[in-house]
């Protein structure tokens, strides 16, 4: 790995006071950014400068900064989570940029993800989809059966685990030209549909989750495959096909 150096960059960042305000792109110049710093640390550096200048810092979402919580977002230079694939914004480093670069930073754009402030969006539509059916009902009155006591085909277990890796960051919606949430919902449906514990409520689950997804105002999937490319957890399009099968089968039963 090459040694860290300092670069000077130009930033074009979406600024919006609140959900109702009209936002716009603002330009900032930021000098002496270490290429060893993460993208979010670069924004921290910008915010420190803005605070020192008695200006409003840029609001952006972040939490674990380890690529696992799904809290960070940001549409960077026209791509969800920036130029790397398989990476969240918090795991993106400034070594991916060059001295003198102009970097565009925008919030996720979706009717179902309204902007709260600056780069922060409200992703509670994902929570409501989960609440509509993304769970397995378990009797916790003392009669719970250990999950390991139920034999599960290795292939199904692996696919379920891969689907469960979805962190719900919303990059799939952000990058999809249609603003579709089908990769997220497909992963959440698949995660349970593949396991015997999830099959009991499979019919209601897929019908309720898809209904909620449609009510939230997400677009329709046209299979461009952009979501799969930009997903930081590598969730496969296979999950959307499985959801489609589950939905058709559940509709005929229901």
């Amino acid at each position: 790995m090459s040694a860290a150096k300092n670069i000077n960059i130009n930033l074009k960042i979406w600024r919006q006071k609140n959900a109702k305000a009209k936002g716009s792109m603002e330009t900032y110049k930021l000098d002496n950014v270490s290429t060893a710093s993460s993208f979010l640390e670069m924004l921290d550096q910008l915010n420190e400068e803005l605070v020192n200048e008695k200006k409003e810092p840029v609001a952006f979402d972040h939490d674990c900064r380890e690529g696992i919580c799904g809290m960070c977002s940001l549409y960077i230079n026209g791509r969800a989570h920036g130029p790397d694939t398989g990476t969240t914004t918090c795991q993106l480093h400034m070594r991916k940029f060059n001295d003198g670069d102009t970097i565009f930073i925008e919030p996720w754009r979706s009717k179902a993800f309204p902007v709260v402030k600056d780069l922060v969006v409200d992703r509670s539509s994902f929570d409501r989809i989960q609440q509509a059916g993304g769970f397995v009902s378990v009797n916790t009155s003392g009669n719970t059966i250990d999950a390991n006591a139920t034999p599960i085909n290795k292939g199904d277990a692996d696919k379920s685990f891969e689907a469960a890796a979805c962190i719900g960051c919303g990059a799939c919606v952000a990058t999809c030209k249609n603003g579709s949430a089908m990769l997220f919902v497909g992963a959440k449906v698949s995660q349970y549909a593949l396991l015997p514990q999830g099959k009991v409520e499979a019919t209601e689950r897929v019908l309720n989750m898809v209904r909620q997804m449609d009510e939230e105002g997400f677009g329709n999937c046209t299979n461009t495959g952009a979501c799969e490319v930009e997903c930081p957890k590598g969730i496969s399009l296979e999950n959307i096909a499985r959801m489609n099968r589950e939905y058709l089968s559940a509709s005929l039963k229901g």
Partner: protein, 221 residues
């Protein structure tokens, strides 16, 4: 769940779009094979065209189904596109779609609109005159007229150029549409790799075959 709710769902619309697309691709394939006979044997082309143009099953059952399928596919395509545009009321200032998806997949509405415009021209050239010939003027059956009617149309370089351009856009539409339709109906399995290859071959062979036929008649008659 009420069936009416199911039919309004995004997935049901996707499936309907895919099934109508698959049906139209089947039609396209048979149209291609019939037209290809015009290159090798005008007599065979005339015989098949006469059969297709006068068989009651083709005329009164398959043809109306086909027209409904075409209209449904286009109306559904525009409806879904409108809904998808509404799902992102504020556009990105910078959007790098080419970084993660093909032009063909992102612009189905453009390629589809060109194909729709082409269908208007194609109907004006062949279908309307055929309907007038048979059902308005009620002319006598002439089993040998089809090849001449076809060759005559491709005398014009403008028309031939428009047909070739439309087939290029059709190729792009099929490049994404063929494989997308299988994904939409839930077919993503061990056969997907092979079906993708077949889909790409279909998207090249059929439209470029039509281009070959148009150019053949333009330069040979």
């Amino acid at each position: 769940m009420a069936k009416s709710t199911m039919l309004k769902s995004s997935i049901a619309k996707k499936v309907a779009m895919a099934l109508s697309g698959l049906f139209l691709m089947l039609f396209l394939a048979q149209h291609f094979f019939i037209n290809m006979t015009s290159v090798f044997s005008p007599d065979t082309f005339n015989s098949i065209s006469h059969f297709m143009g006068n068989n009651p099953l083709v005329q009164y059952v398959i043809q109306p189904i086909l027209i409904v399928g075409v209209i449904f596919h286009f109306i559904m395509g525009f409806t879904l596109d409108l809904k998808n545009r509404n799902a992102r009321p504020v556009s990105y200032v910078k959007f790098d779609g080419a970084a993660n998806s093909s032009w063909a997949s992102r612009n189905m509405i453009i390629s589809g609109s060109v194909v729709l415009a082409f269908l208007g021209l194609h109907f004006y050239d062949f279908w309307f005159p055929e309907m007038i010939y048979k059902y308005v003027d009620v002319n006598a059956l002439e089993p040998t007229r089809y090849f001449h009617e076809l060759a005559e149309k491709f005398e014009s370089p403008v028309r031939t150029g428009l047909y070739c351009f439309s087939f290029l856009l059709l190729s792009l539409h099929l490049w994404h549409g063929f494989n997308s339709s299988f994904q939409s109906v839930g077919a993503n399995n061990k056969f997907t790799k092979a079906s993708h290859k077949f889909g790409y071959a279909f998207a090249i062979v059929i439209p470029f075959g039509f281009i070959f036929i148009a150019l053949f008649h333009h330069f040979n008659h």
